[in-house]
Subunit: 240 residues, 2 copies
């Protein structure tokens, strides 16, 4: 049995009870070392197999090998394992007849946890876009940013920047500014639910200058998004 568990944004309280129970019942925990650290107290004494950020495929193969041996394996992903996480890669590598059960236990993905910190920006149709071009061409990313901006989606951006991609957020903002007004309300959250959590609200023309990192999630409002009581709020359309 192989369970792919979304641990949520950070602290254990943001994990579901089902996910926590699956973790506790597993024999061995497989994951990126930082994520296994985050849940350390809950799995004290358990066997773990950890590796570095870039070793996703290696971890998935190891998890599959262990499940084939009959072990009860828990693979952990931050946020939700089904949103830019490990779930897809495991299904692909396990193939059509893995010989053991695979289950995804959902978690709170960054779009949702960032929205909760900022207020209620995702009350209407939204698009989730990653700016990482490690496995996606920048042309595809650009096309999606433009399409989402032109159709007035709220846009949630994952992986806005890394050392190699210092100007990607700035470029993404330039595309959005062709369709969305400069004073479109936006918000950002760093280290959601972890030590050093920070967040802020700004306008779209200010957003490109944000010192974002790989632990930052960004939400760009639609044409109705406003700031109420210091919170970012997208009205759904009720008469107020």
């Amino acid at each position: 049995m192989l369970q792919i568990i979304g641990i949520g944004p950070g602290k254990i309280g943001q994990m579901t009870a089902s996910a926590l129970e699956a973790l506790k019942e597993s024999d061995i925990i497989v994951g990126y070392s930082k994520y296994v650290e985050l849940i350390g107290d809950e799995i004290a004494g358990k066997e773990t197999y950890t590796s570095a950020m870039t070793q996703e495929k290696n971890r998935c193969l190891k998890a599959i090998e262990l499940a084939k041996e009959g072990r009860n394996v828990a693979v952990v992903s931050s946020g939700d394992a089904g949103v830019y996480g490990m779930a897809g890669l495991i299904y692909e590598l396990a193939g059509d007849n893995p010989g053991f059960e695979i289950k995804v236990l959902p978690g709170i993905t960054a779009a949702v946890s960032a929205a909760a910190v900022l207020g209620a920006p995702l009350m209407h149709d939204f698009a989730v876009i990653s700016l990482s071009d490690l496995m996606t061409s920048w042309e595809t990313i650009e096309k999606r940013i433009r399409a989402a901006a032109a159709a007035d989606f709220v846009i949630c951006i994952y992986n806005p920047r890394s050392r190699k991609r210092a100007d990607y957020l700035k470029k993404a903002c330039e595309y959005m500014l062709e369709y969305k007004p400069a004073d479109t309300k936006c918000g950002w959250v760093k280290n959601i639910d972890r030590d050093g959590e920070e967040y802020g609200i700004c306008t779209l023309d200010e957003l490109g200058g944000l010192d974002a990192d790989m632990f930052t999630t960004i939400i760009v409002g639609n044409s109705s998004t406003k700031v109420v009581g210091g919170k970012l709020v997208t009205p759904r359309g009720y008469d107020i």
Copy 2:
């Protein structure tokens, strides 16, 4: 204090520990009667204020009134309260100086819980679109469906059908078929994590004929989405 709590798709095990704790510490629970029923065992003996599906504004006003009186109020929403839920309406109605603290406690939204049932279809950029035109013009909905389909997003559809909107899903599929191939892999889940949960995988040209209801969530794949071991999987782009 007013806490807006996402209870997840159904059973209590899909709620976060923080959400459950907030529920237990609250004085009074406000919500749509069906959702309050779902969490009944956890809040046995607590005061509740429930009303019908269409009474959202009334419930929010009541919750705000109770919080102003100094009560510790928990408003419950299914899924996540920040995704087509109650959070935005509460912030709007509470205004700039409510005089009490408002907090959103995130939950597992249907896009994520449906994806987990189906496999791993949200591994790449996706758009979430509601087909409810109670508060959004059909023109806006149509524009967003077309934009998302043209830019090859995975598309997650909320509220695909109700009695008054019998042919909306069919129309949405017709728009998508102008941009996406007829054999695009899709999935649907009814009553996620509740009694009577059902799900299936089909192609985009079959999807329009689905007998969907208001408890159905639909995921339409992108050009890479495939079926592996009976699961719907969108590759992220790793070399397999």
